[in-house]
């Protein structure tokens, strides 16, 4: 009995620790800017949200969604094909090639900004969503390939090999046989990539300066002004930035936690 109480108490404290910070953002976003940090006094209002959307935040939400969605689709396409090849085909220099993709996970992104900036400038891709999409795909590709190769290894080879024997064209094997079986793994990969891109701002900062092209984290960052910070807007924008990922992750929660292991533990 005492054991149970201790376990439950620990769980309660951890539970509070886990949800309190995000909860705080949502509560603070409804407080007037002047009273956000006051504990004894608060005025509740929608003003922060109204001001946020009046300032054109809707466009940034759209841009973020658009960029992330397309990037996720391309990532999935590129990593499913790569995963299939790595898992099912034998070819020269395979380990080197696989290795160089995997090493991408260890790459310090911060040193990527300047060279990419110069390259994109030469190609005329600055202030163009294409540059963001390329970068985001590049950033999420290594981990996605890793997850999907792991996942594919847990799918019996006989399935696609049988189809190959039957003379099914290789491309069809990928899209008609492999792809549907891998859906759980793909969802995890997509969710992971989406989150990574959704909160990214180092690249966005350098590549997107035109207001109508900007993404959400970028605008959030701009609210930290030189003299002062517009806290009301920061809180509302933070809440708005967090909601889509929450809505996306909550229903997928079970799939995500199962899919994650498929890659890392293969018994």
């Amino acid at each position: 009995m005492i054991y149970e109480i201790v376990v439950l108490l620990t769980a309660l404290i951890l539970f509070i620790g886990i949800i309190y910070p995000t909860l705080w953002v949502f509560i603070a976003s409804f407080k007037s800017e002047e009273t956000i940090f006051s504990n004894e006094y608060a005025t509740y209002t929608f003003d922060n949200y109204i001001e946020l959307f009046e300032s054109g935040f809707g466009v940034f939400i759209y841009n973020s969604f658009y960029i992330c969605l397309i990037s996720v689709i391309i990532t999935i396409f590129a990593s499913v094909t790569a995963a299939y090849v790595f898992s099912r085909k034998k070819f020269k220099f395979k380990i080197i090639y696989f290795g160089s993709i995997m090493l991408g996970q260890t790459f310090p992104w911060i040193i990527l900004v300047t060279p990419m900036f110069i390259l994109f400038a030469k190609l005329g891709f600055l202030n163009n969503h294409i540059s963001m999409i390329f970068c985001y795909v590049a950033v999420s590709l290594p981990f996605s390939v890793y997850l999907l190769v792991g996942y594919l290894e847990s799918v019996p080879r006989e399935l696609d090999e049988a189809a190959l024997m039957d003379g099914c064209p290789p491309f069809q094997i990928i899209w008609k046989i492999i792809f549907p079986i891998m859906i759980p793994g793909i969802i995890v990969t997509a969710a992971y990539s989406f989150l990574l891109m959704w909160s990214e701002y180092l690249f966005a900062l350098a590549f997107l300066t035109k207001t109508k092209l900007k993404t959400m984290p970028l605008e959030l960052y701009a609210f930290f002004g030189e003299h002062t910070t517009e806290w009301g807007q920061v809180m509302a924008a933070s809440a708005v930035t967090t909601i889509p990922t929450l809505l996306l992750f909550l229903p997928l929660q079970k799939l995500i936690s199962e899919g994650l292991t498929a890659g890392s533990v293969k018994s």
Binding site: T35, T209, T211, G225, H227, T228, T229, E230
Partner: protein
């Protein structure tokens, strides 16, 4: 016949293209980094009405990244047409070849009441006479305090010496429990302690970078004197009269300072005027019945502060220099300051004289008269942001006791000397 028709078609086509080109709208982009984007948009709408054929796109970037981003963009032929920059950046950006020389434009179209009417014009131009930006706004730090708390602590006159300010802070802490001078001492690249250290040094006639009559630069301070300033601010932290949490407050307008002043946890800060505006507005919302307890005054020892400010530059890569200049001319005109960019001081002497006076803000006017420009700091060979970071980081190491003040003072001294 056929040929004739063809020729006709081509000619009409050509004419149409030329006509279209003449009518075609010029699209300017203006990067404006302050809050109040809505108000600025309204000002730009008015500009567009007045100048049919020119459209202005407004964009914003966080101040923290504004400098590196523009330098990067300008180097590869990109970036906005008109750019909002800190006045201390202008020279180095001009040297980097990022800004357009406006001499001819000014000669042709004029600007304000003339170039001599602008404050910080020295920072906007180079030694060879090139004008790389037009001063837009100026500001400076003044001491803001709570009259009620100082009174409670038995302080009737705001101290006029550094020691007096220190003693007053001790007295306030003892008698009221509130913090006296709350000094943001964080070490980020745009830290506040850099300003406070310089105010201290300048009030004693010292300066990290100075210029001789022959135009060469020298270091006009000894390591001991640098250390004296560091020790002065360290003593606030050591005695607990400046709370330790201030070590993580980097910004002079940080929420902690505003909230502290509103609640009365802090009683003195040194800050720009628009922060005082925020403090007063928060106080009014929180305590609608109480009268305004805030006042402002000049720094101790009649310390010189700096004229901070923002300037407007034209990107060297622009295709519409004329239109860009037209926009700058409009933005530096009086109605923009009074109707759209309120709370900012124009960087023109004539316009400042016409500003209305608010009692609690009187200190700013007094302080601005005393203020100096960054002068040799910014014309000299070391970019201010670099020194700013050195001094802030060094001060941080002293404050946490990792290095002694003289060690850091020597490092700063050697670093500057090496570069001069």
């Amino acid at each position: 016949m056929k040929t004739l028709v063809n020729v006709l078609i081509i000619v009409t086509g050509l004419l149409l293209t030329i006509k279209n080109a003449a009518l075609a709208e010029i699209e300017l982009s203006f990067r404006f980094n302050d809050a109040g984007q809505k108000e600025m948009r309204a000002a730009l709408d008015k500009f567009e009405q007045m100048n049919p054929g020119i459209k202005v796109e407004l964009q914003r970037i966080a101040w923290g990244s504004a400098r590196e981003q523009f330098l990067r963009e300008a180097a590869v032929g990109e970036g906005p047409d008109v750019v909002h920059i800190a006045q201390v950046w202008t020279r180095s950006m001009g040297d980097a070849g990022a800004l357009y020389d406006m001499n001819e434009l000014i000669e042709e179209h004029g600007i304000g009441e003339g170039w001599g009417d602008f404050i910080s014009a020295d920072l906007a131009s180079q030694d060879d006479g090139k004008i790389h930006a037009i001063p837009w706004t100026v500001d400076t730090f003044a001491m803001v305090y709570r009259k009620d708390i100082l009174e409670k602590a038995g302080i009737t006159e705001f101290p006029t010496t550094w020691e007096g300010l220190h003693e007053a802070s001790v007295q306030i802490k003892e008698k009221t429990g509130a913090v006296g001078w709350a000094i943001p001492s964080g070490s980020g690249p745009t830290n506040s302690i850099w300003f406070f250290l310089n105010f201290y040094w300048w009030s004693n006639g010292w300066s990290l970078v100075d210029r001789k009559a022959d135009g060469s630069y020298y270091i006009n301070i000894t390591p001991e004197q640098i250390a004296e300033g560091l020790d002065y601010y360290k003593s606030y932290l050591d005695k607990g009269i400046n709370p330790q949490s201030m070590l993580n407050v980097t910004n002079w307008g940080a929420q902690e300072l505003i909230e502290g002043m509103v609640r009365g946890d802090y009683s003195i800060i040194s800050t720009p005027e628009n922060v005082l505006v925020q403090i007063e507005s928060a106080f009014k919302e929180r305590y609608p019945d109480k009268s305004n307890p805030f006042a402002s005054t000049i720094h101790p020892k009649s310390s010189v502060t700096f004229v901070g400010g923002r300037q407007l530059g034209i990107n060297v890569n622009t295709e519409h220099a004329e239109a860009a200049f037209k926009l700058i001319k409009y933005l530096t005109d009086e109605p923009v300051y009074t109707d759209h960019y309120a709370g900012m001081w124009p960087a023109q002497k004539t316009l400042i004289k016409q500003l209305p006076q608010v009692a609690s803000h009187k200190g700013y006017k007094d302080q601005l008269i005393l203020a100096r420009s960054w002068g040799p700091y910014s014309t000299g060979p070391i970019p201010i942001p670099t020194m700013w970071n050195w001094v802030g980081r060094g001060a941080g190491s002293v404050f946490i006791g990792e290095k002694t003040s003289i060690e850091v003072a020597n490092e700063i001294y050697e670093n500057i000397k090496k570069e001069l």
